[in-house]
Subunit: 134 residues, 2 copies
């Protein structure tokens, strides 16, 4: 497995519109896309910072993963996504090394990427995502 | 203020040696430096991923900021550091917009960078750092 860069940092927020304003007006970043990912029960907003994106995530359902995260931990960084060439091969590689997976096979994420999550219990408490272009 | 890229992602860990092993053996990243920052009461380890670094932080003192963070929240992502050209000017700019600062003036961080933290109460619960080359 070769990680080329951090594809994005996922940040759980309560209010997407307010958070977009913060990143734009305070930090001077520019939101270039807002997208709903029904599968993940989230509405997302993207900012590009160097070769990494910031992905703000607002839950569309209190029972979804971001809704539960905010209820438990409050707003904050939710996951770290590494860009890999081959999600399937990378999942197999880390599973062979004893890492527990959330997704045994990639599924479709925001921006049409192939994505899969590792289980945070295996990864120092950090929710790690692998993703690759279609 | 112009943010060029995410300089690093700070991750609080309990055991630096074990965490280095995880990032090296599971994710295939390479630790290129270990440094103690006495001022912050931490020992740090750095990995480069694209134009962003991962900075693992192990507390050297239970009363230090990382010691307290781990006691309260457990291991996980601690802060997000944005690369700016001018830390002093950037601090003034966000303070003028109502953001509360932890550091009113930059101090010396790991790798000799000039660093300053914004207060997470003003920034959606995320601890944000500005940093620049000497």
């Amino acid at each position: 497995m070769e990680i080329s860069h951090i594809e994005h940092i996922g940040i759980a927020v309560k209010n997407l519109e307010e958070s977009i304003k913060y990143y734009e007006s305070i930090l001077g970043l520019k939101c270039y896309a807002v997208e709903e990912v029904a599968d993940q029960k989230v509405k997302t907003a993207f900012f590009k910072v160097g070769d990494t994106k910031i992905e703000l995530l607002q839950s569309t359902d209190a029972e979804g993963p971001i809704g539960k995260f905010i209820e438990k931990k409050g707003e904050g960084i939710h996951h770290l996504a590494f860009a890999v060439k081959d999600v399937v091969g990378s999942l197999k590689e880390v599973e062979d090394k004893g890492i527990k997976l959330i997704d045994k096979a990639p599924r479709k994420g925001a921006e049409g990427l192939n994505i899969a999550f590792l289980h945070p219990k295996s990864t120092n408490g950090i929710l790690i995502e692998f993703c690759s272009e279609k």
